[in-house]
């Protein structure tokens, strides 16, 4: 049993529970190369957990995760680590190494996992910093950065090894509209120019519709709807339409 070639990553029947609490109850979805799949859902619904499983940080109780035709749940740690080098993850809290400067953070995967020499690494770091618009922040420590900057550094670090798949955990949560737009633009740019596949977990409606090529809704541990953005917006699924309409109401009341 393996994923079909055009699918970059696929989850089949993934179940996860902690003690008696069922977090995921049979999740199935797949992402083809160069897609941006946005996964939405209520807070605490297991969206971030889903990303941890995709990255192999959590092992599901049942089901399989195929990445490039290999089942991540069955790989040994060294093999899993090898697979992880083809993925990048942007964490909700950025998760930068607090004792290292921005440059060292971005350089960490390059130093550890590539055969590049110091000057090549430095030029990659410069390039990634420029991409996220933080050319002058290289020598700062994560504690000296704002939330938005930390997230952008997290993105630069995730992109350091030129991954094929980037996972975003709430990339624009807690950011001002300008920073939020900047991150959305980066995701679109990655998709269009660098042919990167992304999975974005968010409940910021604007960014979701801005970046998505396909959208999925996670509820009660299952994907209850998976569709193109237009179809998703017009869905008559009661939970999804309630989710979308409460957001629109909220936006309207602000105006």
């Amino acid at each position: 049993m393996s994923a079909t070639p055009e699918k970059l990553i696929e989850m089949r029947g993934v179940k996860l529970q902690f003690a008696d609490k069922v977090i995921l109850n049979g999740v199935d979805f797949s992402v083809r190369a160069q897609e941006v799949l946005v996964i939405m859902g209520l807070s605490g619904g297991g969206k971030s957990t889903l990303l941890s499983i995709l990255l192999g940080l959590l092992k599901p109780n049942a089901g399989a995760v195929f990445f490039k035709e290999e089942d991540l749940t069955k790989l040994s740690r060294p093999k899993l680590n090898e697979a992880r080098t083809h993925m990048g993850m942007v964490y909700q809290n950025a998760a930068l190494i607090s004792s290292m400067t921005v440059r060292e953070n971005i350089g960490l995967p390059l130093e550890e996992l590539s055969d590049k020499n110091a000057s090549e690494i430095a030029s990659i770091i410069d390039q990634k910093l420029e991409l996220v618009g933080l050319k002058d922040a290289g020598d700062k420590l994560p504690s000296e950065l704002s939330g938005g900057m930390e997230k952008r550094v997290g993105l630069a670090r995730a992109l350091a090894l030129e991954p094929e798949l980037v996972l975003f955990d709430e990339p624009s949560a807690g950011l001002d509209p300008i920073n939020s737009k900047l991150i959305d633009d980066l995701i679109i740019q990655l998709r269009d120019k660098q042919k990167v596949t992304s999975i974005v977990v968010t409940h910021e409606m604007d960014s979701a519709f801005a970046v998505a090529t396909r959208m999925a809704f996670l509820d009660q541990g299952k994907i209850i709807l998976e569709a193109a953005p237009g179809e998703f917006r017009d869905s008559d699924n009661p939970i999804v339409s309630k989710f979308l309409s409460s957001y629109t109401d909220h936006e309207r009341s602000k105006k």
């Binding site: 060294p78 680590n81 670090r157």
Partner: protein, 252 residues
């Protein structure tokens, strides 16, 4: 307890498999820079405390044994008693206790804060192999530096004893030196050094394991640090007893 033991065995096995994989790809399993940084912290940083503690312990031991032996007119035995017991026992044990509280606590606290802040997961998620990257330089540093510090502890303990002996027990430095040289055997030195390698490995493993299994934020880091020091100190003392029984039985 059993769960912790199996956790540590698992940690050791997984770290070894990551190191093996790195070596198979002809990459260094850890950065020398990190190893030297940790060695500096463990070794050089602990020297003043080890010297201070050992001098006072050596001094006290010489004084107390001296007063007891004076009653039997055997005060001349002080150099032999102190040097042998310091080399075999006090040196490694006190170094172990100093390192468990100074370095073990630091390892647990920093790895614990990294775990609680999601940094360890981030390193793991990049495919770097968090166990190999974080643990190897730390455990190797404490493993190789504990015996070095033990040697320093032994020398300073004996110097402390010699000082107080010349001051209060009327034993000259040259007599003390001759007695130490005559009575101290290579066997005693070996026993102390072998034990201290073991202590270093125990402290490093416990401290890293406790740090990487932290749960519950800032309070969790505090609890883990306390429990790491308690566990490391008691394991070191227990292990010391077993080593002594073993050495006395098999290498009399």
């Amino acid at each position: 307890m059993l769960q912790e033991l199996s956790g540590m065995v698992w940690m050791g096995r997984e770290t070894a498999s990551e190191i093996k994989e790195r070596l198979a790809r002809h990459r260094s399993p850890f950065r020398l820079k990190h190893f030297f940084y940790q060695s500096n912290r463990v070794g050089v940083g602990s020297v003043p405390m080890v010297i201070l503690l050992s001098v006072f312990v050596g001094l006290t031991m010489a004084l107390l044994t001296g007063y007891q032996l004076q009653r039997f007119g055997l005060v001349t035995l002080v150099p032999a008693v102190v040097s042998v017991s310091f080399t075999r026992e006090m040196g490694p044990l006190f170094t172990g206790i100093v390192l468990a509280s100074r370095i073990g606590a630091a390892y647990t606290a920093e790895l614990g804060a990294m775990t609680a802040g999601g940094e360890v997961n981030a390193i793991e998620g990049m495919g770097i192999g968090a166990l190999r990257y974080l643990i190897t330089p730390r455990i190797l540093a404490i493993f190789f530096l504990t015996p070095c510090l033990t040697v320093i502890a032994v020398i300073s303990g004996i110097l402390g004893a010699a000082f107080i002996s010349s001051l209060l027990l009327q034993l000259s430095y040259s007599y003390f030196y001759d007695q130490v040289m005559t009575n101290l055997l290579v066997k005693d030195l070996m026993a102390g050094i072998v034990k201290s390698f073991l202590f270093g490995a125990i402290i490093g493993t416990i401290a890293c394991y406790k740090g990487l299994t932290v749960r519950g934020g800032a309070v969790g880091v505090g609890t883990a640090t306390t429990s790491s020091v308690v566990m490391a100190v008691s394991t070191v003392i227990a292990c010391d007893s077993f080593c002594n029984i073993f050495i006395v039985t098999f290498f009399p």
